[in-house]
Symmetry: C2
């Protein structure tokens, strides 16, 4: 059985949201599983000297236009949130906890959070949003709220950030297929050809 596609994404990244909506279908077309791996670019960027895209003059203005247009191009509902980017530490911890229980549940949670933020304009830094998404997928929100305070979950998030840095992750989405890295929603076509042909 081939290795899963490693799918790194930030809950606060529009392009991560776009990728999350398509990656499972893409992988399934090539008989692959997907390992979802949330990262916090707010931790990674300063270490690499990268400024968040929307803060760069001129390029930032273009990027806002590009996010909206790319959503229309892909046929996905999207509104850039008023508070953007935002903290995703709670969503990351919740994901990691769920992922220990059931990976498919964690993926549904991740998609729910991304849609809440980018399609519905809800604050994903707010406990009530986390709770709402949990309820929607059949998870007890009180149990989740308590679980994400556990030291081992905090430790797991720290380890995940270290792993992402070690793997060279510097953006969202960032994929690794059999050792080959692909950065950006716009490289998913190359990734699909790579999967189909075993490299090119």
């Amino acid at each position: 059985m081939a290795e899963p596609i490693r799918f790194y994404f930030d809950f606060s990244s529009p392009y991560g949201y776009f990728a999350a909506e398509g990656i499972e279908d893409l992988a399934a077309r090539h008989g692959r599983e997907v390992a979802w791996m949330p990262v916090m670019l707010g931790v990674i960027f300063p270490k690499l000297g990268i400024r968040p895209l929307v803060e760069v003059p001129v390029k930032g203005e273009y990027s806002r236009r590009d996010m909206n247009r790319t959503a229309r191009f892909l046929g996905l509902p999207f509104t850039l949130p008023e508070v953007f980017p935002t903290r995703s530490v709670m969503a990351c911890r919740a994901f990691l906890w769920l992922n220990r229980e059931r990976a498919d549940l964690a993926k549904r949670f991740a998609r729910g959070i991304l849609r809440a933020y980018f399609a519905e304009g809800r604050l994903i830094d707010a406990p009530e949003t986390i709770a709402g998404v949990a309820v929607a997928i059949g998870v007890d929100p009180a149990e989740l709220a308590e679980a994400i305070q556990a030291p081992e979950i905090k430790q797991a998030l720290f380890a995940a950030s270290e792993d992402a840095l070690a793997q060279g992750v510097f953006g969202s989405p960032y994929f690794i297929v059999d050792g080959e890295p692909f950065w950006g929603t716009d490289r998913m076509a190359q990734m699909e050809q790579w999967l189909a042909e075993g490299g090119f």
Copy 2:
């Protein structure tokens, strides 16, 4: 008659080279002309606080891999030059002079310079490379070498840089279609849909 597609590119940009190989066919499919407009990102980047991609840690290493892979994906000959990026002031001036005479000649010159640099590994900062490309398209290299020293050509290049800054150009390739900007080879699919549908 619809306006030409504005195609901004840097002679020292691999993605500008990739775009140059495809833009005329793309435009022709939609009955459009293309106005080729060389820019020097070395002038623009410092004003916007943007670092050249290959100089950013980790991201730079990825970008070198991406350039090579994207060339294979597009089926284009490519070797990242040993001296990269490089000065393109002479190529820009030569283009601008030729463009005053005959736009199609200037485009052939631009493609020749980009291929010399990215497919053949020749130094485009060298007078003999400029001369060689000139000869290949039937232009007297001595006449060209003299013409690009003219004050009005230097002034034209300055004006072109000012125009690019005013238009918000911050990368290569950068296209403007009826006021809508598209950055990157990887946005040419969106641009094509935009041309086909008059926006989306």
